[in-house]
């Protein structure tokens, strides 16, 4: 099956500001793909070009086989995609059900309004006027409006910005449910954990370029990076006493052992401690988090390309 989205050498400038500088990626059918990056990285510009809201200066773009810049096929394309935009802007005096029913009428084969209400977690709010919804519920209505046309492809622009932690988990659950229905999803986010929780693949954007791509697990070489074992040195022992060699002493009183063979190294360390009747307090084993990788990637890129900051 052809990809849902193909982008090659896409570029867009606003005056002297080069918001998107020749990026390429593909999104397969049924995949959840995240564009990750700080504000001003070019995510929203990229998304708006794919949604047909903005033109492009250069490059090829195909969305479900259509060129989103082609006005002649705009309506056909819109019937098959769902958009959840950043700004909340819905007619305030209609009820939740009316708002969904209105938009359902715009599509040739919409989802059932009741089904969308359940899917978006709006059960019990059907008769509430939009103006009386809380911010979080409005965002759910937004999501519902994105889903009402039963789209093959859903664009989510920072879907959980401003959510409290439990609302975010709920939203993630909804998105995962959609993956189960086979919906392709392209989302932008500046939250690492969101990309990690949802995306099959991630592209990190910074300064209008894609600076890294991969699955959340292997992004930026995370999978091959050294693991980090940290613990408090037992009283009376120095770092040099450890069988694993010298380790750095951190400011919080913990020592760090870096290793590319964590199973063996951990065995050595715990064996050493057990032989002496010691405990390794506050013991943790981890890898560089996606956040560490991301900050490394975007921080470096931003330092190399301090030019533009805003695509908004």
């Amino acid at each position: 099956m052809p990809d849902a989205i193909t982008v090659s050498e896409l570029a867009r400038s606003y005056g002297a500001v080069r918001a998107v500088r020749g990026i390429s990626f593909t999104v397969g059918r049924g995949e959840i793909f995240a564009l990750l990056g700080p504000n001003g990285a070019g995510k929203t510009t990229t998304l708006e070009i794919l949604e047909g809201f903005r033109g492009r200066d250069a490059g090829q773009v195909e969305v479900l086989g259509f060129d989103p810049a082609d006005r002649a096929t705009g309506r056909v394309l819109r019937e098959r995609i769902g958009l959840v935009l950043q700004d909340i802007a819905v007619e305030p005096y209609l009820t939740v059900r009316e708002t969904l029913a209105r938009n359902a009428g715009y599509y040739p084969a919409p989802r059932d309004v009741g089904e969308v209400i359940a899917l978006a977690g709006l059960a019990g709010q059907e008769r509430t006027k939009v103006r009386n919804l809380s911010g979080g519920l409005k965002r759910r209505l937004d999501l519902g409006l994105g889903l009402i046309g039963d789209p093959d492809l859903l664009f989510l622009d920072e879907p959980t910005t401003g959510f409290d932690p439990s609302a975010r988990r709920d939203a993630w659950q909804i998105v995962r449910g959609l993956r189960g229905c086979g919906t392709t999803i392209l989302l932008t986010t500046h939250y690492m954990d969101e990309a990690q929780a949802l995306a099959d693949r991630v592209a990190v954007m910074s300064g209008g370029r894609i600076v890294a791509r991969g699955t959340p697990a292997d992004l930026g070489g995370r999978d091959s990076a050294q693991a980090r074992i940290r613990f408090a040195l037992p009283r009376g022992y120095a770092a040099a006493d450890l069988p694993t060699g010298a380790t750095a002493v951190a400011g919080d009183g913990l020592v760090t052992v870096r290793t590319s063979a964590p199973t063996e190294t951990l065995h050595q360390l715990t064996g050493w401690a057990l032989d002496r009747g010691l405990t390794l307090d506050r013991l943790t084993v981890d890898r560089p988090s996606l956040e560490d990788v991301y900050l490394g990637l975007t921080g470096t890129a931003a330092a190399e390309d301090p030019v533009e900051r805003s695509d908004r």
């Binding site: 935009l85 007619e91 009316e98 209105r102 938009n103 009428g105 715009y106 409006l145």
Partner: protein
Amino acid sequence: MSTATSRASRRDLALVWHQIRYEQLSFWRNPQSAFFTFVFPVVIITLFGAMFGGVGRSSYFYGLSALQYYVPTIAAVSVLGACYSQLAIVLSTRRQNGMLKRVRATPLPAWAYFLGLLAHCLVVSVVDIALIVGVGRLFGVPLPTQWAAAGAALVLGAASFCALGVAVASVIRNAEAAPAVVQLVLFPLVFISGTYLPIHSGVLDRIAGWLPVRPFNQALLGSFAQHTGVDWKDLGVLLAWGAAGALVAVWRFRWDPRAG
């Protein structure tokens, strides 16, 4: 192929009807806005009735009584308000708060969206006119005689002023400026077109005759009170302005709050 075409056009028709219904629902759901939309023309015509109710036929009012003159001109200015002013302000507000972009995100075609708005403006205009004619009746003004001519003038006028409203909304960049710009254009135009005071200046009449408001006043005066039927020149001028407005609208209209 032809069945597919007819199915598509039937779907489009249903779509327009759907959009008209929800545009109406949104409007009537906001009772304050609905109330004030209709209270203004009623207040004006009642005031004029109180002030000029006793002024009989005179040459100053072209052989009509004062209220016979004012019922059609106030009706005309209420159509201007319902179509031109409201639409310009509503569209710039909806654009600024992102609602237009939201419409653009759906497959609803632009023409269907605008037909929904046009129908809404027509409904408001018709209710306005009915209220004004009704209040006029209370002050003893006879009902309009030439309904067909009045209807034609109304539909054409409403469409043209809607097009001009969209054109102004296309040129205005921010919603806060919209009411001021709308008034700046409308106020002098209404005055030189004889809406509130009959103009007895050949030069002014000729100038105003080529601008959109006076031809509409004349068309309603003719069909409401003067029994003159359809004046093709007036309707032609209106149509030309409507077409000009539509051109500007098609050329300049933006859905996105940000320029792009």
